[in-house]
Amino acid sequence: MAKKTPGLNTGSMADISFLLLTFFLLTSSINTDQGIQRRLPPPLQGDKATEVHKRDILTVLVNMHDQIMVNGEILPDVQLLKDKTKEFIANPTNDPSLSDKKLTYIKELDKEEYVSKGVVSLQNDRGTSYEMYIAVQNQLTAAFNELMEEYSQSHFGKSLHQLNEQQLKGVKKVIPVSISEAEPVNYGGK
């Protein structure tokens, strides 16, 4: 006669399934949104517009046909905007037509650094497509991100996301993301 198989101890099965449940609960995240984050300026009160020197402004205009104009020159492709912005902000050769720099004491890094006074002024038409607007915003963000990354590499020898909080704060002060969106105008209609 065949020997009866002994019963499996299934008491711990519940624990195993609980473990599985908690594991998936913790690891799965409902797909989070991602995007480009910006801070809108507070509404204008009276004429409090700050004066910026002309050489410190990089005017980026986007018209209703999604054409881009940077400081009076037509830009054939959005992809070129990043390098243009980087060159304008960093101004490595101290070109008088590009942005001016100011020696500023950075508390977080405990040293003085040249901080660009450059401001990117972005103005779009009501007829600009949202896709182009995002492409432009993306290029501008990429420019500032790359400048920060370069600064981090040259001064700390580390990538930006490896810096500690204080260093990161300092880097953000050395290269402030200065993108100003002009008050809207309507040239091309809806």
């Binding site: 299934t10 480009i36 910006r38 809108l40 993306n138 309507n186």
Partner: protein, 153 residues
């Protein structure tokens, strides 16, 4: 008589634990079915644009979605882009009110940490987006996120 013979130290019999996992799984499925992700259904078509320099939104509970795009029901509503806030269409003038309502839904010290996530169809013209941004500025909602998809190119 030997009929009711006492068996020495009988002890409690073992419980059959085999079906415990089934019970737990049933629990799991019950909760899975009963919880609905409150994701308001979209009345507007939205195809997000793509970008490379994206950041993840930190706290989902502190994000308010604003959808802008052409209505799905073109026959009834036309194809002018509209704003969908929560479960209904909103006009540009309604935004301050919606912002206020959204703020009162959150505890007081979270109100300034709210992120207003704009989900805009990429075909949309900037006109309506600019209007929405202006209204948000007026109602002290400054933290804006332009929702995009991530690409590596």
């Amino acid at each position: 008589m030997g009929r009711f013979k006492k068996e020495g130290n009988k002890g409690t019999p073992d419980l059959n634990m085999g079906s415990m996992s089934d019970i737990i799984f049933m629990f799991l499925f019950f909760f899975m079915v009963i919880t609905t992700m409150r994701e308001s259904s979209l009345f507007v078509t939205i195809q997000l644009p793509k970008a490379t320099e994206v950041q993840k939104l930190q706290k989902k509970s502190l994000v308010v979605n604003i959808n802008i795009g052409a209505p799905k029901d073109v026959a009834k509503l036309g194809n002018e882009p509209r704003i969908q806030w929560d479960d209904q269409f909103a006009n540009v003038e309604d935004i301050p009110q919606c912002v206020e309502r959204e703020k009162t839904n959150h505890p007081e010290n979270d109100r300034n940490k709210l992120t207003w996530s704009l989900k805009v169809n990429k075909e949309t013209k900037m006109g309506i987006v600019t209007d929405v941004k202006q209204e948000l500025r007026k109602s002290n909602a400054f933290k804006v996120n332009y929702s995009t998809l991530k690409t590596n190119k």
